[in-house]
Amino acid sequence: MSSNLEWEKESSLSGQATSTAHPIHAAPGARARSRLARARGKTGYFFAAIRQHPEFGLGYVIVVGIVLVGLLAPWIAPYSPVTADPSQYLEPPSWQHPMGTDSSGMDILSRVMFAPRIDLTIAILGTLVSAVIGTLLGAVVGYYQSARGLRAISCDAIVRASDVLQAFPVFVFAIALVAIFGQSIQSIIAAIAFVNIPIYLRLTRSQVISVRNTRYVEAAIVCGVGDLTIIRRHVIPNAIAPVLAQLSVNIGFAIILTAALSFVGAGVRAPAPEWGSMIAMGFQNVTTGQWWPSVFPGLALAVTVFGFALVGASIEFLSDPEQRATIVARKGGARPA
């Protein structure tokens, strides 16, 4: 335990200010030990954080569980998720159909199990694309914030353009994009990516503006390292933490957006198993007493988004040095300076 704490202290002391250039002059063996120590330190923080906040653990269990269900759906789902069986339409929950059937006679449990394959794919890809583009743009814009001439004008233009994008209601904007590019999974991913790019751009830009003025960046500039190399090796790695925390939150948001697009008919094609589309197909039946076609996918959607929100909160927690210091202090270690 004490050795763990030593690693944690070492990691905590080196972690924040460490750029990727940090161990350049270290011997190969020392570098390996340092990496191992950091890895074990991070794992230690992770489990300590979960012990301190058990809800974070619940978030990871939910996310991992949903991902596993989605991956294993072809083997564990009891029925085909897209085959209608008119002889079984609107059957209430039973042993044969634990979540009942919908108005086309499709098994809701099977569709709920298959849905993460579409929902998570769309949400994760859409979020990653927006994170990559937004982070790169944000890094460049932030790095050249105080530049002059054409670069400054270009950066201002990018920031203003993102302001304009953010001024549109996200949902309406996403519907318009899907309407323009056609109803397909690729279009939804593109729409989700597009509406989220400004978030990452602004988040990264604000971080980069402060990183840009740190000593190690100035040192790299003095050494004659090129701008793009500095951005790639020194700036982005030290500005990425809030982006990582935002990722999980955004995946949850993207799942909701995907479901909402499907609910209004701009999402995936029927009868693809997707939670929003399932809710839309079933909501008409709620008033006539058949609640199960909408309620179960709604619950699955809510639980998944809740899980990603908890994971996002845990990442935010872990990437905050103050919070990590609290963990160290609670475990009896010295608070890092």
Binding site: V82, T83, A84, D85, P86, S87, Y89, L90, S103, S104, G105, M106, A179, Q183, G265, R269, A270, P271, M281, Q284, N285, V286, T287, T288, G289, Q290
Partner: protein, 554 residues
């Protein structure tokens, strides 16, 4: 103690206030009975309808939306109508007698409306109408032959529904419509026309108040299009009191209506976009009628004060199989699709029994409908065999477009996808927003697309001309057959009932063999209403006529 800072504004003392309040309260109590009675009286003669939408335009020439056709039925009147009979399945409902009536003149059970007398010459080429005298429009102008003439000439000059309505009775020139006197008007067709009288019943052909329309016309709007979008100028039982699109339309009964003032003095059509909300309003007693519910909502409606009428209607829903687009240019492929469609399951699960199997290419309630040519009950082996014969033994990929605004279509599309997969046809489902769905239908650009429609004139010639004549603007399946074209035209040029029956039997036989449609269902016309609201009458134009209703016990 509270100080009265408003005392300088209101000089009334506390005692004065109490005395005043007591006086007002006493007066209210005394008059309460009268007020309640008056309110109850108003309520009994006020009909509130929860409708999916308020009318967009009141000019039927350019708008056939649901709200508009209900409005047209209230604001305007026609020259003729059909006699009414009790519906054979629903004793609470009445319907038009559209059958072939050998005991009646021209084999039609017609009744006079704006025309009190009519004749069709022996050659079947001229129809003459003697108008009622003293009939006033909602603007106070008397009905004359010029109103009827102007109405039909307007159709010739505008590009809405008019050209079709005139062409089916061979009217192409203004001088074919003549005001032969102040109250006599005639229509002359160069060929015999069996539709000359039936067209005068059609909701699409109401009579306008030409005097008012001419008064509001201008050089850039000589046919009063702008005026008629928002106002009415007709001889119907109601006038438009208020229209706030997206909220409500209020109709006020005309006390001077020539057939007597309607029972319902005020009709409020309130826009309630979701069917679940319309159900809820009806169940709570807030509205008298909830229109256009989902089938499951109709069968789930309960409550002592609620009733549902369900009558056979002129509606049909089918798949347009694009006959100009491979592989649907091959009749065997179209036949295979028809054999594969699970029609019985659709009737049971989607329509909850509120539809009948579509077993013909014209509405089954129409005269001369013949069910003998139906041969497409589900048979997947036969479907596979036909696909093999057409050179598609391994199946093919295609798409089906459906209206996002109609949940029933999505349900059917999913059932069809599963069934067609069994014969190797991979169906991609395209959910099309309601706003653009009809553009896709009219563009005829999709291989398969749903279509729900009804030919309003109960006549096989009118129906087949609409959907199967190669030159019709509603032939959305791109079906072309010269022999069918010739037969349809032949049937529209004779008034001999038996000859027409023979001709349209032949048309139905060919069409049912070449199946340009994927036949699905005849949805019924359903009305969810308060139990004490009586008088519902079904028309082949599938609209309500507010003047039919009364409240039992009022």
């Amino acid at each position: 103690m509270l100080t009265n800072k408003y005392q300088h504004i209101s000089p009334m003392s506390r005692r004065g206030f109490v005395q005043g309040t007591a006086a007002v309260g006493g007066a209210a109590l005394l008059s309460g009975g009268w007020a309640r009675e008056a309110f109850a009286q108003d309520r009994s003669t006020t009909m509130v309808i929860a409708a999916p939408a308020t009318p967009q335009s009141l000019d039927h020439e350019f708008d056939v939306s649901l709200g508009t056709i209900d409005s047209v039925g209230a604001l305007y009147d026609n020259l003729l109508g059909y006699e009414k009979v009790t519906d054979p399945e629903d004793p609470d409902a009445r319907r038009e007698d559209i059958s072939v009536r050998a005991d009646k003149p021209y084999n039609l059970a017609l009744t006079g409306k704006l025309a009190e007398k009519w004749e069709l010459t022996e050659d079947g080429q001229t129809a003459r109408f003697w108008l009622r005298e003293g009939v006033k429009s909602n603007w106070g102008n008397e009905l004359t032959a010029e109103d009827v003439r102007w109405t039909w000439v307007r159709k010739l000059h505008l590009t809405g529904l008019g050209p079709f309505q005139t062409s089916v009775i061979n009217i192409k020139e203004e001088d074919q419509i003549k005001a032969e006197g102040r109250y006599v008007v005639s229509f002359h067709s160069p060929k015999p026309s069996p539709l000359l009288l039936k067209q005068m019943v059609n909701l699409s052909n109401p009579v306008y108040d030409a005097t008012k329309c001419k008064e509001v016309s201008s050089s850039d709007d000589s046919w009063a299009r702008k005026f008629l979008q928002n106002e009415s100028a007709g001889f119907g039982p109601y006038k438009m009191k208020q229209i706030v699109r997206g909220q409500q339309a209020v109709f006020e009964a005309r006390e001077d209506y020539y057939l007597g003032a309607p029972f319902m003095k005020t009709v409020i059509m309130r826009e309630v976009p979701t069917s679940a909300a319309r159900v809820s309003l009806l169940e709570r007693g807030a509205v008298d009628i909830a229109q256009f519910l989902q089938p499951l909502e109709y069968v789930s409606l309960k409550g002592p004060g609620v009733a549902v009428d369900s009558v056979a209607a002129s509606f049909s829903i089918w798949l347009e199989l694009n006959a100009k687009m491979p592989p649907f240019d091959n009749p065997d492929v179209r036949r295979a699709i028809n054999y594969a469609l699970p029609k019985d399951e659709v009737l049971k699960t989607v329509y909850q029994g509120l539809a009948d199997k579509q077993i013909g290419c014209i509405p089954k309630i129409y005269p001369m409908f013949n069910s003998e040519f139906w041969n497409y009950d589900q048979d997947l082996d036969k479907a596979r065999e036909l696909l093999g014969k057409a050179g598609h033994g391994d199946g093919f990929n295609t798409s089906l477009s459906y209206n996002a605004g109609d949940p029933a279509q999505e349900q059917m599309a999913i059932l069809f996808q599963t069934s067609l997969k069994e014969i190797g046809v991979e169906l991609q489902l395209n959910k099309v927003p309601a706003a653009t769905f009809y553009n896709q239908v009219t563009n005829r650009s999709e291989p398969i697309i749903f279509y729900l429609d009804s030919p309003w004139v109960p006549d096989p010639g009118y129906s087949t001309q609409l959907y199967f004549h190669s030159k019709s603007y509603v032939n959305y399946s791109n079906y072309t057959n010269d022999k069918v074209d010739a037969l349809i035209e032949q049937g529209l040029q004779t008034t001999d009932t038996e000859e027409r029956r023979r001709v349209y039997d032949e048309v139905q036989k060919i069409v049912m063999d070449e199946v340009p449609w994927g036949f699905i269902a005849y949805p019924r016309y359903n009305l969810a209403r308060k139990a004490d609201l009586k008088g519902f009458t079904y028309y082949t134009s599938n609209n309500l006529r507010f003047q039919d209703f009364h409240r039992e016990g009022a």
